[in-house]
């Protein structure tokens, strides 16, 4: 059940704008890796490249699962989801006019996920009691924190081995951010996930990360091989606040 994701020399962007300049990262089985940096530095673009939503202009992305290596460059998100990678996108992107339950069920769209749908749904409702309460409510009418929980749960419904999470803290009050982060740690442990999380909230992200990268202007500015290396590095504040 080992899965590992390696990206090397990724160059990517939108139209004429090049956002990533030769980014290399790796995520090993069972790790929680944080991708740190303020907005506009390329965190989302990197996750989108990994997920097949943005096609890199150069570089390679390889997913190793059960001893098999698959190159992800050129695959669409539909296929990458099929390989056991899921993305909780920036801005959550729920289906606002479907109910909570319908959102969850859609998560299990692909065949392998559908086979286990009862189990996974039961797990999600167990793990997120608030979703159980609001099963029949429209997703769009929930508060930001609840929506983020639903987005996480919906991604779990695809039965991923590797979970990519883009900015789970966006638009949430501090207390909720902390709850969402704690929930991610809990899920990671109960579901034996490998997690790559893009987050600008440094302290929250380092609470649960095993290690991390700081990305500045589309380049990896610093690689912390442990949480300690990250938190003790004085450059981090400089990167963040532009001091």
């Amino acid at each position: 059940m080992a899965s590992r994701l390696v990206a090397r020399g990724i160059e990517a962007g939108y139209g004429a704008v090049r956002v990533l300049h030769g980014v290399s990262i790796e995520v090993n089985e069972g790790e929680t890796v944080a991708l740190l940096g303020t907005n506009g530095n390329g965190k989302s673009t990197l996750l989108k490249s990994l997920m097949g939503l943005v096609r890199p202009a150069a570089g390679e992305i390889v997913l190793e699962t059960d001893g098999r290596s698959t190159s992800l460059v050129g695959l669409g998100p539909e296929e990458i989801v099929g390989l056991g990678v899921a993305l909780v996108p920036e801005g959550r992107r729920l289906f606002p006019r479907l109910t909570v339950e319908e959102n969850l069920l859609l998560g299990a769209y692909r065949r392998e996920a559908r086979a286990h749908i009862e189990d996974t749904l039961a797990f999600c409702l167990e793990a997120f009691p608030v979703l159980r309460e609001r099963r029949r409510q429209l997703a769009g009418s929930m508060s930001g924190g609840e929506q983020q929980m639903l987005a996480l749960a919906r991604a779990l419904m695809t039965r991923p081995r590797m979970l990519l999470i883009d900015e789970p803290s966006v638009g949430l009050a501090p207390i909720l951010v902390s709850r969402v982060i704690a929930k991610i740690r809990e899920l990671k442990e109960t579901r034996h996930l490998t997690v790559l999380m893009a987050e600008q909230n440094f302290h929250q992200a380092t609470r649960i990360a095993d290690r991390g990268y700081v990305i500045v202007h589309g380049e990896i500015a610093f690689e912390g091989r442990s949480t300690r290396e990250l938190t003790e590095h004085e450059l981090v504040k400089k990167y963040y606040l532009g001091v």
Binding site: G40, E167, Q200
Partner: protein, 240 residues
């Protein structure tokens, strides 16, 4: 200095999501004002409310001593609020020059004197460094030129307040400096500027005063140094 823009307790909801809660801020005539905050903190919603693209649910907005809360966007532009868009929205079927003629004509200063607009538009293009592209189709510009066009077009409306919405995102650092130079130039002409930007280096260098939004609330305001030392700001960015 007189207050030019006065935002008083503005709130905005989208469904279950409170995008802005009672945000207040003031921008003075000719000021260089930075607006920062983590992603999703409500910056774009706030400027949409100021420029009139969205109607705020609560609160009032005053500009140059009169309430504008209920005015449609085009009238706000005519009063002197111009903006650039984060994702450039050029008039693609027109040339660069024609793009500038639209606000020059319609923002109320030169209506019906079609001929007078062109020299003015050319002068703006000259200043912004797009003069050689005046007759190129706006649809085919490069990213940096599109950003410049956004600013040039906003200038052609002869604003008293220019809102620059992430004009530098995705640009190289040399290009960032280019845009900064342009904004300084405009500021030197006495135009108040609100700069919304993620590139801290640029905001800190440019702004006289900075307001910080987080989760739809204004959590801090002050000079760049104050903001850097502000614990709440550090928390907003680094978390707690």
């Amino acid at each position: 200095m007189a207050v030019l823009l006065d935002v008083r307790g503005v709130s905005k909801r989208f469904g279950g999501f409170q995008a802005l809660s009672r945000v207040s801020l003031q921008v003075e005539e000719g000021e260089r004002f930075g607006l920062i905050g983590p992603n999703g903190s409500g910056k774009t919603t706030l400027i949409n409310c100021i420029s009139g693209a969205l109607r705020n649910d609560e609160g009032e907005i005053w500009f140059a001593g009169r309430p504008i809360t209920r005015l449609p966007a085009y009238q706000r532009t005519r009063l002197g609020i111009a903006r650039s868009f984060q994702i450039p929205r050029p008039f693609t079927s027109m040339t660069v020059l024609e793009n500038l003629c639209i606000p020059a004509e319609h923002a109320g200063h030169a209506r019906a004197r079609g001929a007078d607009v062109v020299p003015e538009a050319r002068a703006i293009l000259e200043r912004i460094g797009l003069a050689d592209k005046a007759d190129a189709r706006a649809g085919g510009l490069t990213q940096i030129d599109l950003r410049k066009l956004e600013l040039a077009r906003a200038m052609a409306a002869r604003p008293r307040l220019l809102i620059s919405d992430e004009s530098m995102a995705g640009l190289s650092s040399a290009e960032v400096d280019e845009i900064l130079t342009i904004l300084r130039l405009l500021s030197a002409q006495g135009i108040a500027i609100i700069m919304i930007e993620h590139i801290m280096r640029a905001v800190m260098r440019f702004s006289q005063r900075i307001a910080v939004l987080d989760a739809g609330e204004r959590i801090a305001e002050g000079g760049p140094d104050e903001i850097l030392r502000n614990a709440a700001v550090e928390r907003a960015y680094l978390g707690e």
